[in-house]
């Protein structure tokens, strides 16, 4: 993939340092939650992972719309990269949520609206990835993926609103009014760290996508 540029290296180091700071504050500095105890510390990784998954799928949506309008393969590359990273963050969100759920609700999984809609979200973007690997024609693959990227995004606001629309075990979304200041700042620090990790992964994944496109072109030329 070639050596990292100065910007990529700086981004990587910043992401690593901020993740270390976020984990340190989340595990050691901020006090345990009065009601849930220490297991609430999972919120500092579960919440940012969920937000980053939403951001990834929002980028897929925007890039898919741009692709459908302009038919520029660069948008398709960014959408595909963002979708893959979004799947990683969604899996992380679900697994961390299951651990937190086991400690507070007593079960790893229940067909709660938030959990179910998140599982559907994961299935949609795993399907998006599968579709990309099945379609051989570059143009068709990009067009079909863009359509799935637009339609699939409909589920994101449903996941977000599920705790408001339905009776659910999952707690409502945290806001500056509903959480203590030290919890809020720790959450923000970890959100910033996760965003830097996302930016680094995104830059590297887009580079890989370019290379994969080049390989595909060369294979087609040689065939």
């Amino acid at each position: 993939m070639g050596p990292r540029t100065v910007v990529e290296k700086t981004l990587g180091i910043l992401a690593l340092l901020s993740m270390m700071a976020g984990s340190y504050v989340g595990l050691r500095v901020v006090p345990a939650d009065a009601a849930q105890g220490n297991v609430q510390r999972l919120m500092y990784v579960h919440g940012p992972a969920a937000w980053l998954a939403f951001l990834c799928f929002f980028i897929v949506f925007v890039m898919s719309v741009l692709y459908l309008i302009q038919r520029d393969e660069r948008w398709d590359r960014v959408a595909a990269s963002s979708a893959e990273i979004g799947v990683v963050f969604t899996v992380l969100t679900l697994l961390l949520g299951m651990m937190w759920g086991k400690a507070t609700w007593g079960v790893f999984w229940t067909w709660d609206p938030r959990l179910t809609t998140t599982a559907i979200l994961l299935a949609i973007y795993v399907g998006y990835g599968a579709l990309r690997s099945f379609a051989e024609d570059e143009e068709k693959r990009a067009r079909w993926s863009a359509i799935v990227g637009v339609i699939g995004f409909v589920n994101v606001p449903i996941v977000y609103m599920s705790v408001t629309w339905w009776r659910t075990l999952h707690q409502p979304p945290s806001s500056p009014r509903s959480v203590a200041p030290d919890i809020l700042w720790t959450l923000m620090l970890n959100l910033a760290a996760f965003t830097l990790v996302f930016a680094y992964l995104m830059v590297r994944r887009i580079r890989l996508a370019k290379l994969e496109g080049e390989l595909e072109r060369r294979m087609a030329y040689n065939a």
């Binding site: 993740m19 220490n38 651990m99 290379l211």
Partner: protein
């Protein structure tokens, strides 16, 4: 030693340290806390290294086509 091996060793050591620390301070539900942070770091590091590995493989494949084209 490869970068991945060094990172794996540091990762396992950090997990052990975290386990010992949470035990010393008597953190309740520490298995969930350690597993959660371990999973987060593990998954993100794994994906970052996986990207690099895929990048190397793809770059080699692209180069091999270059040789073939030049060879013609």
């Amino acid at each position: 030693m490869r970068k991945w091996s060094v990172v794996s060793v540091v990762y396992v050591l950090a997990l052990i340290l975290l386990w010992v620390y949470t035990g010393r301070v008597g953190m309740e539900n520490r298995s969930f806390v350690v597993a959660g942070y371990g999973l987060t770091w593990g998954a993100l590091l794994w994906y970052a290294f996986r990207l690099e590995s895929r990048g190397r493989t793809t770059a080699h494949a692209v180069e091999s086509f270059e040789v073939e084209v030049t060879g013609d």
